[in-house]
């Protein structure tokens, strides 16, 4: 990795030379400003969301009655909820595979090229720095349209990329790969640069071919990076909303609508905040499972190797 190895993190606060005493030196004062904001704008809405998901509250804050698990029961029996949850899972699978493999491939390519690094980095990582609205407007208005769009215009085809349910999700994946592969590319590039050079020199002296060096040195050493990249990518893809909302609005039909958009629709166009919270918490449960895998990975990296 790019950073120094972290020693065992148990180190208790230093006890030898004590700072002055007095209430201004209390550790809680350092923690308080962040913790206040954290309580107000993360913990509180998290608990409120749970409470709302058990109520029939609407966006105006009225009709706030406790309904138990009725919202969850309704969600589990709601085909549109399942459709949108399914869309999110399909998008996650379809996007994670190329985003990880292409990220790795581009990093290997650029790492071995050793010159005009700035050009490769700008090309592959640049799009990641564009706001989702910029990416969506660009692809919606000038890349995907039938006839004059860049893809159809260049290929001479007339495909309704976004208007056809059978291609719309693939188009979302394509745009997302173009937009965000730079992040994984960067993480892999950093990992490649931290592989000690002498490993390759020894292998080269032994007459190992480039392919052999890749298979037996590079790829095994990228194992942990790959685990992290996959988990981060799963989490990012499960949260997909912006580009789909902005480009297809979830359509055609419900063919691309992700679960976050379904929750958003329920809450902000259907005014049913309680139901929207329940739908959100179903996604949250899924994300917690993936996050726990992530925490395990982080913890493993803190153990001295």
């Amino acid at each position: 990795m790019t950073t120094v190895a972290v020693p065992a993190s148990a180190a208790a606060p230093a006890e030898e030379a004590r700072p002055r005493r007095g209430w201004t030196q209390h550790g809680l004062l350092f923690v308080a400003p962040f913790f206040a904001i954290y309580l107000a704008f993360l913990v509180w809405p998290l608990l409120q969301g749970l409470r709302m998901s058990l109520s029939s509250v609407n966006i105006a804050g009225t009709n706030d009655r406790f309904v138990g698990l009725a919202n969850y029961a309704e969600a589990f029996g709601d085909p549109r909820m399942w459709r949108s949850l399914g869309n999110t899972v399909v998008f996650t699978v379809l996007s994670t595979i190329p985003l990880v493999l292409l990220g790795l491939g581009l990093a290997l390519l650029v790492h071995n090229l050793r010159f005009v690094q700035w050009l490769w980095r700008l090309s592959f990582f640049g799009p990641f720095l564009l706001p989702s609205a910029v990416v969506s407007l660009l692809w919606l208005q000038m890349i995907y349209p039938p006839e004059y769009g860049l893809i159809n215009g260049a290929l001479g085809t007339d495909v309704l990329w976004l208007g056809d349910p059978s291609t719309a999700m693939w188009s979302m994946v394509l745009t997302t790969v173009w937009w965000t592969v730079g992040f994984n590319f960067l993480l892999y590039l950093a990992a490649l640069q931290s592989i000690p050079h002498h490993l390759y020199e020894a292998a080269e002296l032994d007459g190992a071919s480039a392919w052999h060096r890749l298979r037996s040195i590079t790829l095994p050493l990228l194992g942990r990076t790959t685990a992290l990249v996959v988990v981060l990518q799963l989490l990012a893809s499960l949260k997909v909303f912006d580009q789909i909302y902005l480009m297809t609005g979830g359509g055609p039909g419900d063919s691309t609508r992700p679960i976050i958009e379904y929750a958003y629709d329920a809450g902000f166009t259907g005014y049913r905040i309680g139901y929207a919270s329940a739908v959100s918490y179903i996604l949250f449960a899924l994300i917690v499972v993936v996050s726990l895998a992530q925490l395990r990975l982080f913890r493993k990296s803190e153990e001295p190797s």
Binding site: V31, P127, A133
Partner: protein
Amino acid sequence: MTKRFGWGRLVLLAVALVLAAAWLAPIAWAVATSLKPETETTKLPLEWIGSRVTLDAYSLVLGTGGIVKWAVNSLVTAAVVTAMTVLFSAMAAYGFARTSFRGRRALLTVILAGIMVPPQVLIAPLFAEMVSLGLVDTWWAIILPQVAAPLIVYILYKFFQDVPPELEQAAFVDGAGRWRVFFTIVLPLSRPVLAAVSIFTFITTWNNFLWPFLVSTDPNTMTLPVGLANVVQGTFGLRYAQIMASVVLAGLPLLVVFVLFQRQIIRGVAHTGLAGQ
């Protein structure tokens, strides 16, 4: 790795050039379209350069004023979020890493658990909270929830644990208090990691869409992504040169900054993206 210049490397270079061209093509197409006269933007067969190169679309877009206002809003909110996040997170991380007080472990656990909470699932209750606080359509509604980023506390906490305590102890012996040690010794030592999390926070805030989109309905408080999504599509209709000029104007600032500060930005994104791993 390979020292000689062989066919293998030539093939690699060709592949890289083709891929780079493919990756740059959409951006180049946006720039090309924005420089065409409006009547030629949908002409077939496609042409990269129109009958004349014109900046009309840019002057029309800038003339309506919206985009400049949104850019200022984005800049201000992203700068305030970054400053507050880094200062408060660094203070909290230092408190957790270097002081001991009752409840320290419990508070730390509550914060670390928050890393798992995706902001997207909080939109409904958070919006209700902003309504009751009367903050909708203000900068504070955009700013405050983005400051509550537990990941940054975690990264800085891990960093501070590795700062040798001897550096601080010398100052404590001289009678310095914790605050002076924090601001004059610990923070200056941490400049690289602070730069990394600042860059990461700024980029994510500058580009954030869903939350600012929910809490700004007034074009005067909209950030750049929200203004583009809301207004550009509505008012410019099918004037593609103007839409692409807006896209270029909105996308350009970070790309220019990236070209200027590539090394720092890459380090910042990679370091924070991997949560300091």
